[in-house]
């Protein structure tokens, strides 16, 4: 596998060098290509201003802020429970996962711990958000490369997971279900069985994607050796999640810095890939989706009984202090740096989102690539606009 990757990488580099020579000889004129803000590959409103020389990118500069909603300022005038509603909308495809680190940070400062059952259900919902989120990536990546079928499969099968989330929380995209000290409600009757059968379907979906997309020769040709990120560069830019792991960095917050979730109780594996190219990013995410279904299965099997809410005061005041809690969200490390002055309201919340760091590597990464590869690379980095702009 790696051998093919190396050969193709070398071919790519050789082709790029040959083109550069041609461009120098012919003195081709520079051109500015404006991608977005309404390009389908940007999942929202990200604009990329690319300076081209022939077919190659000389420099690329992302322009954002089209969707900046000022959440960090808004949190300062919202009470802690109200903040949850806001931050739901950061990464809108994995919204339950957005709530968790904030709630955990507040709980840490309050010295409150959610009961065992709440922790497990949180973890289940967290992983379901991951599956719902990454499912769309798996289909969408193929669309960006010109294969339309996969995304319909993705939308179809994502419904199974969204229905599960909906039947617990009442919301498909914005659950607003996590509370300081526990959860709003317990699971509905029969939910566990439904979840088990949905997980079987999701595993079948992963197999389908593997056959349909990943094993396709065209897909490999378009992604192998494209957008290679060496591990040290990935760390410097703060790439996290699957983007880091596909550069061979063995770092997963769920395993290495788990705070308050039930990942220690189940048996699972962190997947990494040494290549660091677009193919590796797809591969890692596919394995992670499979792994997530296994985590959900195990958690459902061993779900402890008990209350779902710890004792917390009716009016929530968080004692003065600072805390940084991050979790391994579908897109990567998402964390909240919470500063409290013992008030009803946070004094300052710094929202560290995964996509912001993941996209900040784009100017470095796009230098020298071909125009069609811009789309491949953007798709493989996988970002959500709300997660960049906040």
């Amino acid at each position: 596998m790696t051998m093919i990757g190396d050969r193709q990488k070398l071919q790519y580099i050789a082709a790029a060098a040959a083109d550069a020579r041609v461009n120098v000889e012919l003195e081709t004129e520079g051109m500015t290509l404006n991608i977005g803000p309404q390009h389908p590959a940007t999942h929202g409103t990200l604009r990329i201003v690319a300076r081209l020389d022939g077919e190659q990118v000389v420099s690329a500069d992302p322009v954002m802020g089209y969707m900046h909603r000022g959440y960090e300022k808004l949190t300062e005038v919202r009470s802690y429970p109200q903040v949850t509603t806001l931050i739901n909308r950061i990464d809108w495809l994995g919204s339950f996962a957005n709530e968790v680190p904030f709630i955990l940070a507040a709980e840490q400062l309050m010295e409150v711990e959610a009961p065992e059952r709440a922790r497990w259900i949180r973890t289940i919902l967290f992983e379901l958000s991951r599956i719902a989120n990454i499912t769309l990536f798996l289909g969408d990546m193929a669309v960006q490369l010109g294969a339309f079928t996969a995304v319909f499969y993705a939308f179809r099968d994502r419904e199974y997971v969204l229905n599960l989330i909906e039947s617990v929380t009442g919301g498909r995209f914005h659950p607003y279900f996590d509370r300081i000290g526990g959860l709003k409600d317990d699971l509905p009757k029969g939910w566990i069985d439904e979840t088990r059968s949905a997980m079987v379907k999701m595993r079948a979906f992963c197999d389908e994607m593997e056959e349909l997309v990943m094993n396709s020769e065209i897909f490999e040709a378009r992604t192998r050796g494209v957008g290679v990120i060496p591990p040290d560069v990935a760390l410097q830019y703060g790439l996290s999640g699957a983007n880091a792991r596909s550069s061979g960095i063995d770092w997963d917050i769920r395993r290495d810095h788990n705070v308050g979730l039930a990942y220690d109780e189940v048996d699972w594996k962190v997947w990494t890939h040494p290549d660091g190219d677009s193919f590796a990013r797809f591969w890692v995410r596919l394995q992670e989706t499979r792994e997530a279904t296994k985590i959900v299965d195990q958690l459902c099997a061993g779900l402890p009984k008990g209350p779902i809410m710890a004792k917390v005061p009716r009016i929530i005041k968080v004692p003065a202090g600072e805390a940084y809690v991050a979790t391994e969200n579908p897109l990567g490390e998402m964390g909240y740096y919470l500063v409290s002055k013992g008030d009803l309201y946070p004094f300052r919340v710094k929202i560290r989102t995964a996509s912001f760091n993941n996209v900040s590597i784009v100017p470095w990464l796009l230098r020298g690539v071909y125009v069609p590869d811009i789309i491949t690379i953007l798709a493989s980095l996988y970002f959500i606009l709300g997660d960049i702009d906040r």
Binding site: M64, G65, H68, G70, E72, K73, L74, E76, V77, S79, Q108, E111, D232, V233, L235, Q236, Y237, G238, I249, D250, W251, D256, H257, I315, P319, A320, G321, E322, A323, Y324, A326, E333, G335, Y337, V339, K341, D343, L344, Y345, R348, K350, R352, F356, N357, S360, I361, W364, D389
Partner: protein, 246 residues
């Protein structure tokens, strides 16, 4: 136990009130060793530190040594992962929580808001602070599984600090964001342009003295249409939208 040494520096009256009330925990040899190592490497650049045992570590360094310390943290101590960089404005908001309903204010026992800017010293958080602004950044060592938050004081008069872009390339966007949101200058940054805000935007939104106008002109819906809770004897629903714009 949250061990907060009185740093080499005299921490003014504004030292954090937060350090005392943390409950007793076991000592944290890993993080204490990290502090000792960094102190040995950079000497008196370390002003103060704070450990929440088993959880996290804060180190406050001198502003002049900011980039050097980051360099040491990355290359010698192996924290090659760049988490984020941002700033805190420690000044209490001069608008109070003017933007809230009278109900909320009475619950919080908050005095009526004023618009006067309080001069320091300000109450600060972990590892103390002497100035209005504080730049903080987070790094992690992904091999040894630890992370730390570095802080540096930045004054009100000349809010500037050295750039980290030469140490961590990823600091670029974070510094641009902090620059536009707090008006802090990052000396040596290759292109300190706006990141989010439009070109003609005036002001630095995340400073506490920047009013959230949307809330000042339009009262929070909760104020005007509060219905009494069923079965509740609570004090909500006085119905008058007391806007606190002075």
């Amino acid at each position: 136990m949250s061990s907060s040494e009185p740093g080499v520096d005299e921490v003014s009256g504004a030292s954090g009130p937060v350090t005392e009330d943390a409950p007793d925990r076991e000592p944290d040899p890993l993080r204490e060793e990290l502090v000792d190592r960094l102190t040995a490497l950079v000497g008196d650049a370390v002003v103060d530190h704070h450990i929440v045992s088993g959880r996290d570590l804060w180190i406050r360094v001198r502003r002049e040594a900011w980039a050097d310390v980051a360099h040491t943290v990355r290359l010698t101590m192996g924290a090659r992962y760049f988490g984020f960089l941002s700033a805190i404005d420690w000044m209490p908001s001069p608008f109070g929580r003017s933007l809230d309903s009278a109900v909320d204010r009475s619950l919080a026992q908050e005095p009526a808001p004023t618009t006067s800017v309080t001069p320091g010293p300000y109450e600060t958080g972990f590892a103390g602070g002497d100035t209005r602004f504080q730049v903080f950044a987070r790094f992690a060592n992904v091999a040894d599984h630890w992370g730390l938050t570095l802080k540096a004081d930045v004054g009100d008069v000349d809010p500037s600090i050295g750039t980290l872009t030469k140490v961590y390339a990823g600091a670029d966007w974070h510094e641009r964001e902090t620059h536009e949101m707090f008006g802090i200058d990052f000396v040596g940054h290759p292109g300190l342009r706006r990141l989010y805000l439009p070109g003609d935007f005036e002001g630095t939104p995340l400073r506490k003295d920047f009013p959230l106008l949307a809330r000042m002109v339009k009262p929070w819906p909760g104020i005007v249409d509060v219905e009494p809770m069923p079965g509740g004897d609570d004090e909500t629903g006085d119905g008058d939208a007391s806007e606190a714009t002075a």
